[in-house]
Amino acid sequence: MKTLMLIFLATMGATVTTVFLQQSRPATSLESVAPGFGGIAGYVFAPDGKPLANAEVYAEALDNAPFVGRMPGSSTDEDGKFFISNAKPGSNWVYAFKEEDGYPDPSFSIYRDASTPPPQVVVRKGEVTRGVIVHLGRKCEKLLVSVVDADTHNPIKRATITIYPANNPSIRSSSAPDAKGKFEILVPRSPARLKVLADGYEEASDLNVHALSESVHVQVAAGEANKITILLRRAK
């Protein structure tokens, strides 16, 4: 039997109420829903209203149960369309992100955007909840960072950079450089700091992310490269 659900999501402080029309129906022969789970089908849209291809999408169950492993998820196709085949029955948040394009995972507190809350979706076993729309928040500026030895200026390949909220260092995300030894840091809207660690080097910490971003703007305006180089001194 076809079930129609109207879910009204009102955002605190927002002037717009978002209305999602979601339909839960049995899976069709073309949709493979994992046994014991349900499906979620929908689209991801960028802030300009266009569908976003190759975004990662996942569902987080709101069931007060332990979780270890991979959140059920998938990627969007060239039309921004996604299908999650193994969502847990019950209520789920649906998140989307595409870091290479400047859209971070909004479930990480430092990137949470109250103006674009994730849709809450009810999943039923063996059925597919369709019409789920995920709107991405504002695109973040990207800082390109290199970490080098202060004396030799050679890249330090085993450095890590940690980003954390200025008022709460217990929340943090640490990353390794890419294959070229570069870091890409997405600049959150709220105040944030960076810490740089590398074995055998003195730690660089409490670097103001927005001040670094401003310095890049000055560099670019002066015709210089759009990147930041952090020098680490060897530990004594």
């Binding site: 149960a65 492993g69 940690t162 660690l197």
Partner: protein, 218 residues
């Protein structure tokens, strides 16, 4: 009928329907050959086979990537849903024996799954976690996330569970192969993976996790 063969089956094999499978690191050629049979109209409406045929063949060079262990790309600690319950998220990438990342860009080409053993029961509410089955790595380049949380906002701060956690590659038609193993403890106030606790300032980003449970810099 099309016939398939591999020049070096110790690097890659190909079955009778043309599906190639990597066996070990290396490069080889996969060949396909077939015969074209010609038909001619016999003056009426019937087609009759001619006596001549043409032999055709094609080949392609393939480089085999065999998943071996895991690189940890990022390590995130957060309290997203309640103030006192930690959630740790590790983002892995599948690499070969030389720590080269999976080069593919095709969705659905590389699947992984979890395996839990030696489970010490969850002392928070909600029971024990269940491992996921084989599913695609995201982004087409062998990356996948691992989220760890007790998932509840109440209970004593040290409630939780522990286990041996394995990540396995699901080769097509073969048995799962362990890529990384960790002794994992998940509590409301701490998550320990391969000996690294969220309560210390170090993290696992940039490290490599091996099938025997060791963590190395390369």
């Amino acid at each position: 009928m099309v016939t398939f063969r591999s020049e070096n089956s110790s690097v890659a094999t190909i079955d009778s329907s043309g599906v190639g499978t990597a066996v070990a690191e290396g490069t080889t050629n996969l060949h396909a050959s077939w015969e074209i049979q010609y038909l001619t109209l016999d003056g009426g409406d019937a087609c009759v086979p001619r006596h001549d045929t043409t032999d055709c063949s094609a080949s392609c060079e393939v480089s085999a990537f065999v998943p071996h262990h895991l690189k940890i790309l990022s390590d995130t600690v957060d309290y997203p849903n309640c103030q006192d319950t930690i959630r740790r998220n590790l983002r892995y990438q599948v690499v070969d024996v030389n720590s080269n990342p999976y080069p593919g860009q095709c969705l659905g080409c590389l699947k992984t799954k979890e395996k839990f053993t030696n489970m010490v029961n969850n002392t928070c509410a909600g029971g024990n976690p269940s491992p996921s089955g084989c599913s695609d790595t995201t982004g087409g380049d062998g990356r996948f996330p691992d989220t760890l949380t007790v998932g509840v906002c109440s209970g004593v701060a040290t409630c939780g569970f522990s286990m041996t956690q394995e990540y396995q590659w699901c080769p097509p038609g073969g048995s799962p192969v362990t890529l990384g193993k960790s002794q994992t403890t998940v509590r409301r106030n701490e998550v320990i993976v391969a000996g690294n606790s969220t309560n210390v300032p170090t993290n696992l980003a940039g490290k490599f996790l091996y099938p025997d449970g060791t963590v190395k810099d390369n």
